[in-house]
């Protein structure tokens, strides 16, 4: 498995996707911090925006809006390229077992999401310090590190249905459309008291500690867990049996 992961990393060498994904993860912190800064400087009387708020908003946008399509594109890329470049038939005849194939991709996806999460958190911190937002403390930094990571982990956990679509459709487009639909539902349900029932929206609330009291937290956790497990099992069962053409 270690060797398999090494080869997964090697496959990313010189890959533009890596740079593009970093750019994608930079969008939320950049927009939040710059918008807050402009807002603070132009509003009269001067309005105070705290470090806490910029961390909160960046994480909110990252998990609910940017994260799902961005990590979805990465998922589509990791799985789709083996079909596009027609390398899957080589891998499976080396042989790489079908389950280790999916597992190694998931591990890389997790590492990738974590890296982008840290980029987004670190950049918010850096830009926030540059913009001299108030209320920075070690406690706040650590707390939001935890929340960013929780958001990243939850979106990763919810990537299995997206993996399933990537493996079944063998193509980037349906995978990306699915993540756009998920994002749309996230946006539309932002003001709904029932959003805790939609796993991706619930993930945003859990990460930011804003779960609504409508339903007990266990319901959201269970829905996320079940969505993930079903995606994982179906993807593996399907891929184990499918003919590779």
């Amino acid at each position: 498995m270690v060797n398999l992961l090494y080869t997964e990393l090697l496959k990313l060498k010189r890959s533009k996707m890596f740079l593009i994904s970093i750019l994608g993860s930079v969008v939320a912190p950049f927009m939040v911090v710059v918008a807050s800064y402009v807002h603070m400087k132009t509003e009269n009387p001067a309005q105070l925006i705290t470090f806490d708020e910029i961390f909160y908003e960046t994480n909110l946008y990252t998990v609910l809006i940017i994260g799902v399509p961005l990590y979805g594109v990465i998922t589509a890329y990791l799985f789709g390229r083996e079909y596009l470049e027609d390398t899957l038939k080589n891998l499976l005849t080396i042989p790489v077992s079908r389950i280790s194939y999916i597992m190694s991709k998931l591990v890389i996806l997790f590492m990738w999401i974590m890296l982008l999460t840290l980029v987004s958190w670190g950049l918010t911190l850096f830009l926030g310090i540059l913009g001299q937002f108030e209320g920075l403390s070690t406690l706040l930094i650590v707390e939001y590190l935890g929340r960013f990571i929780a958001g990243g982990v939850l979106v990763f956990i919810l990537s299995t249905p997206i993996v399933l679509v990537a493996v079944v459709m063998k193509n980037y487009v349906p995978t990306i459309i699915l993540t756009i639909v998920i994002t749309l539902i996230n946006v539309m349900s932002a003001n709904s008291e029932h959003r805790a029932l939609f796993p991706w929206a619930a993930a945003g609330d859990i990460a930011n500690g804003t779960l609504q009291p409508t339903y007990p937290a266990e319901i959201s956790y269970t829905i996320i867990f079940i969505t993930s497990i079903i995606g994982f099992i179906v993807a593996n069962v399907y891929f184990k049996k499918v003919d590779i053409h």
């Binding site: 398999l4 090494y6 090697l10 496959k11 890959s15 038939k89 080589n90 499976l92 003919d243 053409h245």
Partner: protein
């Protein structure tokens, strides 16, 4: 000689189409097995089943004497393969692409990758990314990748696809070399009879998913002996002369004064002279065509191959 690859009633059905139909083939240790068939005959489908990429609808596959599906991992490790056009990570160099295979297989022999690249003549393309390779270069790199782990069996699906005539010749030389020097058993598919004829020891002909015939070229050459055909004005007298003067009994007399002589083919000038000196008119002398092409066409029907 024992069978290295053996299939029994191997069948693949897609919807209402049977792409491979109760195919029982046997590839023996150390031989080059030519798997010949026209486009759509079922070559690739068969090969993908041998490699565990697609599951047979029914039928058995035994490789190295073991059931493929019971011990797929160990069996595949001993095989090198190239199916259709090989695919590579285009953002990587040739070496990096081969490194992926050797890492996963756990090959720690130091020069395995360089050696494989050298065999196919790609050792100098160290900087170029595979995305910038020509079709022929990719094809050769595919062979290198199939060889990097010193397999005992090579399965190559139309490896000369897209190669120019010189490339085809080199590929042929390479395949022969691998069979002779490394004693690798090779299964190679093609839709070109002459290509198989120049390479293979045994030929399996697949058509409409069925294995029509599996023969060694030794047998085939015996079956398709060459002859000279004379057309003469008096065939009775002519064959008498052949018997008397050349001691030839290995002939056939056909209609219209046609005589086929199967031995002493090099003496045809003298035979002709003998006929003429004995007042027999000779209308025609022809050497038989190589009958292999006819043989194949008769088997699979239709005019052209491929």
């Amino acid at each position: 000689m024992s069978a290295i690859i053996k299939t029994t009633n191997l069948t693949k059905v897609y919807g209402n189409q049977t792409s491979v139909d109760h195919l029982s083939m046997s590839v023996k240790q150390g031989e080059i097995y030519g798997f010949l068939g026209r486009n759509g005959a079922g070559k690739t489908t068969t090969i993908r089943m041998l490699l565990g990429l697609i599951k047979p609808t029914i039928g058995e596959i035994e490789i190295f004497g073991e059931n493929l599906f019971k011990n797929q991992k160990e069996i595949l490790r001993r095989i090198g393969s190239m199916v259709e056009v090989p695919g590579f990570y285009e953002n990587l160099t040739a070496k990096e692409n081969l490194l992926i295979n050797s890492k996963i297989m756990g090959i720690y022999k130091k020069n395995a990758i360089e050696e494989a690249l050298e065999i196919v003549g790609l050792q100098d393309e160290t900087k170029k990314l595979v995305g910038k390779y020509s079709l022929g270069m990719k094809q050769r790199l595919g062979i290198a990748r199939a060889l990097v782990h010193y397999p005992e069996v090579l399965i190559l699906d139309e490896p000369t696809n897209g190669l120019d005539p010189i490339g085809i010749k080199e590929m042929r030389r390479l395949i022969k070399l691998l069979a002779e020097e490394r004693n690798i058993t090779i299964l190679i598919s093609s839709h070109i009879l002459s290509e198989i004829e120049q390479l293979a020891d045994t030929m399996g002909i697949i058509h409409g998913g069925k294995l029509l015939e599996e023969v060694t070229f030794d047998d085939l050459r015996k079956r398709n002996r060459r002859y000279i055909e004379f057309q003469v004005s008096n065939d009775n007298k002519a064959v008498m002369l052949l018997e008397k003067h050349f001691n030839i009994f290995d002939y056939e007399a056909h209609d219209d004064g046609n005589i086929r002589v199967y031995s002493y083919l090099g003496q045809r000038g003298k035979m002709n002279k003998l006929f003429v000196q004995n007042d027999i008119e000779v209308f025609k002398i022809t050497m038989s065509e190589d009958k292999l092409e006819d043989y194949f066409t008769n088997l699979v029907g239709g005019g052209t191959i491929g």
